[in-house]
Symmetry: C2
Amino acid sequence: MRAGSTMAGPEIERMIQLLSRLPGLGYRSARKAALALLKRREELLVPLAQALNDAASKLVECSVCGTIDTVDPCSICQDPRRDRSMIVVVEDVADLWALERAGVTNAVYHVLGGHISPLDGIGPERLNIGRLIERASHPEVKEVLLALNATVEGQSTAHYLTEQLEGTSVSVSRLAQGVPVGGELDYLDEGTLAAAIKARQRV
Amino acid sequence: MRAGSTMAGPEIERMIQLLSRLPGLGYRSARKAALALLKRREELLVPLAQALNDAASKLVECSVCGTIDTVDPCSICQDPRRDRSMIVVVEDVADLWALERAGVTNAVYHVLGGHISPLDGIGPERLNIGRLIERASHPEVKEVLLALNATVEGQSTAHYLTEQLEGTSVSVSRLAQGVPVGGELDYLDEGTLAAAIKARQRV
């Protein structure tokens, strides 16, 4: 019989195949995960199946900012206490979650759905950019903060967005680069140190 | 707001909590996995929910040997071409799968559901042992091969089983010491498994 099959019929094999497509799980760890699910049927398998069903049926992409929520527009876009004069642009929903967990901004968001990456065949047209330009053209919007990853792809995406936003009247900003809070100089890469020196602030 | 929450409502939070209980996934990687599921709703989220539902509704524990299958008795126990004179005892379903993938035995199996581990509060009564003694007492059974992990727990479980099987007329064997000490069956190549079965030794 072929390598990798499980002997327990197509149900388990299919479950393993799908689990192995999750980030962080290879085929072998997906098999372990499947087995853990089967051994803990009532406490884990059934509730997880239910949770995935719930997610599939209830969660929608916000037609304004592109995040995921149970309502559209999402609870952030609907929140009257949010400051609509600033739009914080992030690559991914996970980045939005990170900023919300930190509780560091009261602005609204815009989720691009990734970054420009010619090597992976991801051009600007694959990202949620048109809607951003539209939103940024609204008179109530004063600032667009590009909170993209400090990676090559993140920064070239930021560069592209800056160009696209030139036609609007918003001011475009990006996150400060420098030494992370609690960071030790000895452990930082040269790029970070160079950026921190270049952007040094008077005390 | 509290650390670890996702801003996207209880549906996603519950999905992450459940995913983080799978072996190999911590909270952070479970969040990444959940996000991957949400981003690939039709290709991944919906099919995985369906696969888990299928597994939960179709898979049963074999009342003879304790493995997991869609039928009871399982397809191995029902297979008329199987050699019922030998019972291969394994700790876990994954070990049975490993032996079947290797295709190194035509015998029937018995899944203990773990090993004796006093430190974890797992005594013999928690394992599927009574049914093994019953099966081994059947006149058609000539040999019981203890294919347990070459770990301390596996070997002390083997020792316990050997004592319990003394009252029956079966000959008890164990895998040859070709299995590396500390090794787990699920991680071994087919050649090693085949050699270990061929060189099995009387206890």
